[in-house]
Symmetry: C2
C-alpha cells in the first residue's frame, strides 16, 4: 500500500457522482474535472453525462487508480470492496458516521478498514473534505471553489479537513498558496506519518504545517517529523478539556499537549497556537534561511509598533544583542541624533536612508535575524531593491512588517517577497514569525 | 483650556507649510485642505500658494482656531508664543526632540508647555503624527493617505501615533473606519483623560480603544475610563522590560502592567494584548449589545474550527452551559443523528437549516452570547436574513466567523454586519471577540 495514487492518479472514479448542483457527488465532479486524466462518474441510477463525462454503472467499468467516494457511510464497505476488485489503489471517503459516531460507527469503520487492507487501498478519511494539489490541478474534494486555492510552497496536513480548508482559503485571501493540502479526518490508514515523508521528499514543498487534535500514531508522527529535512510547524489543539467534542469530531483520543510539545522541542520543528500563526510559520520557514541563532535586530520607522514587537519577542526565546560599535557609528551617521540607535533601531520616520539602515543592522555580526517595521509612504516607497540585494548577499532571515494603505503598498510587498523577504501585516504577526524561526533552531 | 478647537476648528493655520512634495509641511497641507474652513499656510520664506491657498508670513495674519505646527522642535516655543498672541486655541506639534530626547529635550518641552499654559492652548503632541476625524473630513496629520481612513464607530486614542496610524489602516484594509483617531505622543497637556470624556459624549463613538505605553496621568486615565458610559478596550504594552526604549519614544514612565489591569478590571472595560485584538474588541463592543452573562453557545458547520474556538474560550472567563432540553429536541429534529448537538453544536456541513440552528441556540435561555463558524458555500450562502431578523428580536450578541473564498462571501458578510452581526475572519479572532465581550461585563 502506498499513498502514491493520491498524488498521481491515472484515471479517477467519482462514485455517487450526481447531476444535481449542490449534491456532494456533483461538487466533487466539478472540482476533479480540472485534472488531466480520464474521469469516470459512477452511478447506476444516473445516465447521460455530467461535466461532459459519461456515467457508468460500476467502478468495474473504469480503469481508475483513485476513487472519490460520495456515498453514505453504510454503503461504503460494499463500494470499497468493488473498488478493490476493480484495482483502485487509493480512495477518498468523504462520509461521516464512522469511528467518530459511537460504537456502530466504530464497527463500520473497522469493517471498511479490513477491506482496504485486503485490497491494499490507501484511504484518505473517512469523514474528510478531501485534498488539493494545486500545481497538478488535482482537487479531490467536494468543497466548492477549492479550485481557487493556488500553488505555493507550504504543505498542509490537517486532522480536520475544515481546518485545512480554512487555512487554504486564508492563504488565498492573503495572496499565497499551498504545495498540497490534505484533510485527514478519521485517519483510517492514511495518517500524518504517511504524508509527512512524501511532502518532505517533494521539491515543491519548502515547509509543512500540521493541525493536530489527537491521533493514535503520535509516536510515528513525532518520529517522522523529527526525521524530516523540511521544517515543520504544528498547531496542537486541546490546551483545555475539549476531549468530548474532539472525539465526536475525528475520533481523536484525548492526549496531553505536553507530549507533543516535548516531541516538537527538536531542531526544525515549531509549535504554534493559532491558525494565523500556523500559516505565518509555514511561510517564514519556507521562505527564509535558518537563522544561526536567536539574536534579533529590530529596525523600525515608527517606535510604537517597534515597542509592541520588542515586548512580544521578549516573551520568547529571542535575544536582543548590543550592536557592534562600528554598526552604531554607521547608524549615528545615517540617523539624526534624536532617534534611538540601540537595538531596536528607530529611525523616527520613514526616510530615504531606511534601506541603508536595515542593511547596516543586517550585516552586524551580532545579529542573526532582522525584523523591519515601516508604515508605507508613497513618496519613499519600500526599499525593495536594497533589501532584495541584501537578502542575496547576507544569509540571514530578513522579515518585513508592513502597514499603511493596502492598495499603495501591495506591489512592493509582493516584489519583496519574490526577492526573499517574507512580509507580515501586523506587528504581532511579524514578531510571531521571528519567534517561529528561533523555535525552529531550538531543541534537541 | 479645552480640546474643542481640535474637534471643530474655525480656521486652520499650517505653520511651516511647504510647496515641496514629501516635506512634512506639504503633507500636512495635502491632508488638512479636505476640511471645510479657511486654511492658511504660514511660511515667511514662501510666496504664492499651495493647494490653492495663499501663503501668509505669520499666524498673526490668520484668524485660526487650530495651528498645525510643522517646524523643528527648537523653533516651537517662539511659534507657540505667536500662536497664543494670535488667539489660537489648539495646536498640533508634530516635531520630536522634546521630553523623549534627554535633558535638553525635557527643558524644551517644559518651556513650550509654559507658553501653552499662559495662552490656554490645547496641544496635541509634541512628537505625534496627529489626528483624524473622518466624518468631518478633518485630517490634522502629515501622514500620507490618511484621508483613506473612513468613518466608523470606534474612537481610537493611542500613545504612539504610529500605532494609531497602524490601527487605522488595518481598519481600512478590513472595511471599517474610526469615529476619530488621536495619536497623543508626549502628552504635553492633552492626555488620555482629556480625550476619553469627549469621545464618551460623542454620539458617533460607540466604543473607544486605547494604546498605552505608560503615562503620568494613570490615575486620571483609570478614573475617566471607569466613569465612561462607552465601552473601552485597552492594549497596555510592556509586559516585559522595554522601559528604556519606551522612554526614548514618548517619554513613557515605566509602570507595572498590573496597575492597569486592576484598574481595567471594571464593568465596561476590557484589556487585550495585540493590535488585532484591540481592533476586534473595539468593533464588537461598538456593534453588539452587552451580554447578560458569560454563557457561550457555539454553532459551527465544521467541527475542527469549532474545536479551536472552544479550546481558546475555555482559557477565558467564558462558560459553556448545557442547552435546555427543548433546544436539544429542536436541534435533534433539525440535524442528522451523526452530528454533535451538545454545546458546541456541530452541523457537520453547511446546510439549508443552518440559520435555523443558530436561531434555536440563540433563543435558549441558558445562552448569553452566540458565536457561529461557517465556511462559505455559494449554493447555500450565509443565513443573512434569518440572522438579521434574529438579531433584531433577541437582545444578545451574535458573532459570525467567516471562512472561504473572500470575493464570494464579501457581500453577505457586509450585509450581516449592517444587521448587527459582527463578523471575524479566523477562528481565533471570533473567539477573542467573544472573550472581550465577556471581559466587558466582568469586574467591579
Amino acid at each position: 500500500m502506498s499513498v502514491v495514487d493520491l498524488f498521481e492518479p491515472d484515471g479517477i472514479a467519482v462514485i455517487g457522482a450526481s447531476k444535481t448542483p449542490g449534491k456532494l457527488g456533483n461538487d466533487a465532479m466539478s472540482n476533479v474535472e480540472a485534472y488531466d486524466t480520464e474521469i469516470c462518474p459512477v452511478n447506476p441510477s444516473s445516465s447521460g453525462s455530467v461535466f461532459g463525462y459519461e456515467f457508468v454503472d460500476s467502478v468495474h467499468e473504469t480503469d481508475a487508480d483513485l476513487a472519490l467516494c460520495c456515498v453514505p457511510a453504510q454503503l461504503q464497505p460494499d463500494v470499497l470492496e468493488e473498488c478493490g476488485e476493480a484495482g483502485v489503489g487509493a480512495a477518498v471517503i468523504f462520509a461521516g458516521g464512522f469511528a467518530e459516531a459511537g460504537a456502530k460507527g466504530h464497527e463500520l469503520q473497522n469493517r471498511t478498514e479490513k477491506i482496504a487492507e485486503k485490497y491494499d487501498i490507501s484511504v484518505l478519511g473517512p469523514n474528510t473534505a478531501g485534498y488539493a494539489i494545486p500545481h497538478l490541478d488535482l482537487y479531490g474534494s467536494f468543497v466548492p471553489r477549492i479550485r481557487d486555492v493556488q500553488t505555493g510552497s507550504v504543505g498542509v496536513v490537517t486532522q480536520s479537513a475544515g481546518v485545512g480548508i480554512t487555512l487554504s482559503f486564508q492563504l488565498v485571501r492573503e495572496g499565497y498558496g499551498v504545495s498540497a493540502m490534505f484533510g485527514l479526518g478519521n485517519r483510517m490508514n492514511t495518517t500524518f506519518a504517511d504524508l509527512i515523508p512524501v511532502l518532505d521528499d517533494d521539491p515543491r514543498t519548502d515547509s509543512i504545517v500540521l493541525h493536530v487534535e489527537g491521533t493514535e500514531d503520535i509516536d510515528n508522527l513525532l518520529s517522522v517529523s523529527q526525521a524530516a529535512d523540511t521544517p515543520i510547524a504544528a498547531f496542537k489543539v486541546g490546551e483545555h478539556d475539549i476531549a468530548d467534542f474532539a472525539r465526536a469530531h475525528t475520533a481523536a483520543p484525548a492526549q496531553e499537549n505536553a507530549r507533543y510539545e516535548d516531541g516538537f522541542n527538536h531542531r526544525g520543528l515549531v509549535t504554534v497556537s493559532s491558525t494565523t500563526e500556523l500559516i505565518d510559520a509555514g511561510r517564514v520557514l519556507a521562505d527564509s534561511p535558518r537563522p544561526d541563532g536567536p539574536n534579533v535586530g529590530v529596525v523600525t520607522a515608527q517606535a510604537g509598533p517597534g515597542i509592541i514587537i520588542t515586548d512580544y519577542l521578549k516573551g520568547t526565546k529571542a535575544t536582543f544583542p548590543e550592536l557592534m560599535s562600528e554598526t552604531r557609528e554607521r547608524l549615528d551617521d545615517l540617523l539624526p541624533g534624536i532617534t534611538y540607535t540601540e537595538n531596536p533601531v528607530d529611525t523616527g520616520r520613514p526616510m530615504p536612508a531606511f534601506g541603508e539602515v536595515v542593511d547596516v543592522v543586517a550585516r552586524d555580526e551580532n545579529i542573526d535575524i532582522v525584523l523591519v517595521y515601516e508604515i508605507y509612504e508613497d513618496s519613499l516607497g519600500y526599499p525593495v531593491n536594497e533589501l532584495g540585494a541584501l537578502s542575496e548577499e547576507v544569509e540571514k532571515p530578513i522579515l518585513f512588517t508592513v502597514a499603511g494603505p493596502d492598495h499603495a503598498l501591495e506591489d512592493e510587498r509582493r516584489q519583496m517577497e519574490k526577492r526573499g523577504i517574507p512580509t507580515f501585516d501586523t506587528p504581532e504577526r511579524g514578531a510571531q514569525a521571528v519567534a517561529a524561526l528561533i523555535d525552529s533552531i531550538s531543541g534537541d
